[in-house]
């Protein structure tokens, strides 16, 4: 439980800095710091049990179907890393408080940092591979945010993007690998996976899985050849670099290797790949670290090289190698974080990070100098410092391995070479900055605020103490960690002094060689200048731009901007998918007995089809095809009547009429003459498509109709009266059983109306001054007879609509139809008497009407909560009043009222707004 809390805390805590972001910088930092401290305390609370050898676990099922659980474990390895993440994280937070300038958004910074911290904790404590991957990607994202923190700098953006691209891609590979492993093991829970280790290694898919996982790990921890994103990530604020690239982010890959070592490790493939990649990375990093002039660049490459070192150790995979790896993880984190902070300090105080500009700072900042010397000495592997010990062990392993048979000797040699280089750049880091001759600097350098040095001080102290008394300091930590990697309780022994032996000789060689290389570095630089190594960034950029260009071309070809083409493609696709299915049906005709045709149905069908064809034939004469459409609509409603659906018939009728009105309105703004645009070929094509689609749909319908079916409706039929208090089952379904649909539906209507309202805003439509034959419009706007009758009809229409509304619950009718009837009556007023007339008499705000409608409906739904019922459960009872007699009252009627109002509001909003355009704007004549 505490475990889960520990992981969850940073995520929750990430909000804290944002909440107080408008307070002082101090508050924000405290908020962030507090979060880290609490998590650290939680960790501390858990530590003893872990050291005692037990593994606290937490399990909550999330998606059991996918074998995905929220499962955490805190074994030795996790503890080691968690301690690093939280400890150094805390130091970073303190450091960042002084590092960030006033106009940096500290709230955002700390939020991202905590987010990242949480994700890292998640990775190291995840007990489920998929969960692990989940956090893995989270780190990619949060690190993206952190690296791109100064998003106003283009290089920051580019660096962030590159980091995200590489690590993200790696993450995908990792996911694939994890899925493979999970499939083999039959579970994603770590214990199960560990248990299935041998099976996995024996499995035929082992190699692919291994490769995929390794890609994931290598991209994350910047191993060759994926190392190039790391230097560019240096565009991040230094605290971020210090955190991400010393202790956490890049260590995630290492952690993964360590975590999966029991499962994947120990095989020949593992050894070859991991070791060699590690070796290559180490040399590569060391070499370029020496060449870099940028302080942080130097550190970045040295990080790469150290990661390579650790990777290599993991690759070797012997007991000692693993110990060395874990130990070095610890050490590297400490001194590298320190170094980054120092780089930050220097940058902060001098305004420059360029080794060629810097120099002679020893007077200005002696304290910092000492810290720098200690930490970089640790990096170089000077005796009595932690770096020395791990490097010593590393040498031992490198020289003890015999994995390349007769050629095994080249490993120690190269290793020593790498060590020399790292010594060289360590010296360079210290000497070029602090000794050397002073130069002109942007700022007058002086010691940073004390609290900025304290974190470094702590780290440096750790370097020394660990270096002097490793067993006391870290063995406690390392034992369980080693156990969880190497299995079977491994004993840890780290000695200061092994006596005079080859490793010691190698160290000495490394130190001396390093010094020589440093002294001769100018030659090296010149030598290096001869061939210009293309910056990886350009390669990356090139790839990216090529991809984008490819996509552009593709879009060009697909997105022609021709709706016709899209539509055609769409329909053809439908056919492609549906036709095979239809072919699978053995017989189109089902077993259901069929009705026989009668005269009306026949003539109705004939009329319907004829009208449909008419609409097609006359589609160039708009009004005609519109009339055809309205015949179709009428006939459809007759069909509904014929097949016992009066509600549908009525709805269809009103909707049909209203939409016809709408279209006639729109017709006025359409160009009057339509050139014959489509070529014969296109027409033929379209006819073909249309024919096929029609045929397919028709046959599906037939197949459907002729098959017997069972429906869930018996429930509705049975419960309509007892449950919904209405005899019109359709209406009861709408307002009660599936009331939520209806609520959504009227909301859609309201939204559509609102959207239309906006669409019509400040639209200046074209308006023809006369009809197609150039005849001027008739003078009389509002024919007298029409006016009179419309005014007579209005009350009657309202009465009818009320009638339909009130009976809806028990008989065909209901709010929707009633609403449209009312709307239609109002539209009649508009048509007969004009906008202004209606405005001055019935001045209602249709928007609010619709809104009120939706509100009422929703409130009715919510109301049922008050009675402890579910949302939109309708309540009804029968009253018996003296004169009135027995009658029913139901909340459903309220809901229906909501529908009624919404429909009126929305419809009038659409039509009236539309109609007003002509009165609102001065006509804009055709052609001008």
């Amino acid at each position: 439980m505490y475990l889960a809390l520990m992981v969850a805390l940073p995520f929750l805590g990430a909000i804290a800095p944002l909440l107080v972001r408008h307070h002082s910088r101090r508050t924000i930092s405290y908020a962030a710091g507090a979060v880290a401290v609490v998590s650290l305390l939680l960790l501390g609370y858990l530590t003893p049990s872990v050291l005692a050898g037990e593994v606290p676990q937490f399990l909550a099922t999330w998606l059991p179907q996918l074998g995905l659980h929220v499962a955490f474990r805190l074994d030795g390895l996790s503890l080691l890393f968690a301690a690093l993440i939280l400890g150094i994280g805390l130091l970073i937070i303190i450091y960042a408080h002084f590092y960030l300038s006033q106009h940096d958004d500290a709230g955002r910074f700390y939020a991202c940092l905590l987010l990242f911290m949480g994700s890292m904790l998640g990775i190291v404590t995840a007990d489920n591979l998929i969960l692990l991957w989940f956090f893995w990607e989270l780190t990619s994202i949060s690190s993206f945010l952190l690296i791109g923190f100064w998003f106003h700098q283009s290089n920051a953006r580019r660096g962030a993007r590159m980091a995200l691209a590489i690590t993200g891609a790696g993450g995908l590979a990792l996911l694939a690998g994890i899925l493979l492993i999970g499939n083999i093991a039959g579970s994603y829970q770590l214990d199960a996976v560990f248990a299935a280790a041998d099976a996995i290694r024996a499995h035929s898919l082992y190699v692919p899985a291994l490769l995929l996982v390794l890609i994931g790990a290598f991209t994350k921890s910047a191993q060759f050849p994926f190392q190039f994103w790391l230097p560019h990530a240096m565009a991040a604020p230094t605290p971020v670099s210090a955190y991400l690239h010393s202790a956490t982010m890049v260590k995630a890959g290492i952690f993964l290797l360590a975590r999966l070592f029991p499962v994947l490790g120990g095989t020949f493939e593992w050894f070859t790949i991991v070791t060699l990649v590690g070796l290559a990375t180490m040399l590569f990093g060391a070499y370029f670290a020496l060449l870099k002039n940028d302080l942080k660049g130097l550190l970045a490459f040295s990080t790469i090289s150290h990661l390579g070192l650790i990777t290599m150790l993991l690759g070797l995979g012997t007991h000692g190698a693993l110990l060395a790896a874990l130990f070095h993880i610890l050490n590297h984190a400490t001194f590298k974080a320190g170094l980054f902070m120092i780089a930050g300090i220097i940058d902060h105080e001098t305004g420059s990070r360029d080794l060629r500009k810097l120099g002679g700072l020893r007077k200005a900042m002696p304290m910092t100098m000492w810290l720098a010397m200690i930490t970089s000495a640790a990096m170089a592997g000077v005796p009595l410092l932690n770096g020395f010990l791990s490097k010593e062990m590393f040498f031992t392993e490198a020289y003890q391995q015999h994995l390349f048979g007769g050629l095994s000797w080249f490993i120690p040699v190269l290793v020593t070479l790498g060590a020399m280089l790292s010594v060289a750049y360590s010296i360079r880091f210290v000497y070029d900055v602090f000794f050397d001759k002073a130069h002109e600097l942007p700022k007058q350098p002086h010691e940073p605020p004390i609290m900025m040095r304290v974190p470094v001080l702590i780290l440096a102290a750790l370097c020394i103490t660990v270096g002097i008394a490793p067993m006391i300091m870290v063995s406690g930590f390392l034992t369980p960690a080693l156990t969880s990697v190497a299995g079977a309780d491994a004993e840890v022994y780290i000695a200061l002094w092994h006596g005079f032996n080859l490793p010691l000789l190698m160290s000495v060689l490394a130190l001396l060689g390093g010094i020589i290389i440093y002294l001769q570095r100018t030659e090296l630089f010149n030598f290096n200048r001869q061939f210009d190594i293309r910056d990886a960034k350009d390669v990356f950029a090139g790839i990216v731009s090529r991809v984008t260009r490819f996509c552009d071309n593709l879009m060009q070809r697909i997105e022609t901007g021709s709706l016709q083409r899209y539509m055609a493609a769409l329909f053809i696709l439908v056919l492609v998918f549906v036709i095979p299915e239809l072919m699978n049906i053995s017989a189109l005709t089902g077993s259901r007995p069929q009705l026989d045709v009668d005269a009306i149905s026949l003539s109705g069908a004939i009329i319907l089809m004829a009208a449909a064809f008419g609409a097609v034939i006359f589609h160039r004469q708009r009004l005609t095809s519109l009339l055809m459409l309205s015949v179709v609509g009428l006939m459809v409603s007759l069909v509904f009547i014929q097949f016992s659906a009066p509600d549908l018939a009525m709805t269809q009728l009103v909707v049909e009429v209203v939409s016809i009105l709408l279209m006639i309105l729109a017709l006025f703004f359409m160009p009057q003459r339509i050139p014959r645009s489509s070529t014969g070929g296109r027409v033929a094509r379209d006819i073909l498509i249309a024919g096929f689609v029609g045929g397919v749909v028709g046959s599906i319908t037939f197949a459907l109709l002729t098959r017997p079916f069972s429906s869930i409706s018996d429930y509705f039929l049975a419960n309509s009266v007892p449950g919904g208090g209405g005899t019109n089952v359709v209406n009861v379904i709408l307002v009660d059983f599936r009331g939520f649909d209806t609520l959504g539906e009227i909301t859609v209507l309201a939204i559509a109306a609102a959207g239309i309202h906006k669409l019509l805003n400040n639209l200046r439509p074209f308006m023809p001054s006369g009809d197609v034959d150039g005849r001027a419009w008739h003078q009389v706007k509002h024919p007298m007879m029409l006016q009179t009758i419309s005014q007579l009809v209005l009350p009657l229409a309202l009465m009818v609509s009320m009638y339909i509304f009130l009976r809806g619950h028990n008989l065909p009718g209901g709010g929707f139809i009633a609403g449209l009837v009312t709307a239609a009556a109002m539209i009649l007023q508009y048509m007969a008497n004009g906008v202004d007339w209606v405005k001055e008499r019935f001045n209602y705000n249709y928007q609010s009407l619709a809104a009120i409608g939706v509100l009422i409906a929703s409130l009715t739904g919510v109301g049922s909560w008050l009675f402890g019922a579910n949302f939109l459960t309708s309540w009804f009872t029968y009253l018996d009043w003296p004169i009135v007699g027995k009658f029913e009252i139901a909340t459903a009627i309220l809901f229906d009222l909501g529908v009624y109002l919404t429909v009126i509001g929305a419809t009038l909003m659409i039509l009236a707004n539309f109609g007003q355009m002509t009165t609102r704007h001065r006509p804009r004549q055709e052609g001008h």
Binding site: M784, M785, Q787, T788, I789, Q791, L792, L794, P795, L796, L798, M799, V800, M802, Y803, L806, Q829, V838, R841, F842, I883, V884, G885, K886, F887
Partner: protein, 162 residues
């Protein structure tokens, strides 16, 4: 014409209409109906430019029956025209001078004309005092006008007192 009952006759009419549409008479319906019959005019009264003043209700009823009768007659005559093969018809434009005033009476008259023997009212003259009629088959325009006058217009005069 009180504030709450702007048009009592209309309300009464609506109540009747309500019962008619309900196709049933129960106390409950009457209550609901009267509520609506009072409520709806409150809403619509502003929306009618004219006041329906039926001075002689019984005359109105009589008028309805006369019209119905004529409708039936006219139907037969037109049926004859339609069904008779190859009988040439004599359509004509005829002007009809309006004697009555007020939108409603005129509208009613025009409607009646449209519904009854072979005539359809088409246009009002600009001054609105003459009605243009299209007659499907007319020998003697004057006679037709006379019929319309004494059969309908005079009755409407009596009914609406205009």
């Amino acid at each position: 014409m009180s504030k709450f009952l702007p048009a009592p006759r209309l309300s009464l009419f609506l109540l009747g209409f309500w019962l008619l549409i309900q196709n049933n008479i129960t106390p409950g319906l009457i209550v609901v109906g009267s509520i609506l019959a009072i409520a709806i005019p409150l809403f619509t009264s502003r929306g009618s430019d004219f006041h329906v003043r039926v001075a002689r209700p019984w005359k109105a009823v009589e008028y309805c029956f006369v019209v119905l009768l004529d409708i039936v007659k006219s139907n037969f005559s037109i049926a004859a025209i339609i069904l008779s093969p190859r009988r040439s018809i004599y359509p004509a434009w005829v002007e009809y001078p309006l004697a009555i005033e007020g939108e409603l009476p005129i509208t009613i008259l025009a409607s009646t004309i449209s519904l009854t023997p072979g005539t359809i009212s088409i246009e009002f003259s600009h001054d609105g005092r003459t009605l243009l009629i299209h007659s499907l088959n007319v020998k003697d325009a004057e006679a037709m006008i006379a019929t319309i006058q004494h059969r309908y217009e005079n009755r409407l005069k009596v009914i609406f007192q205009c």
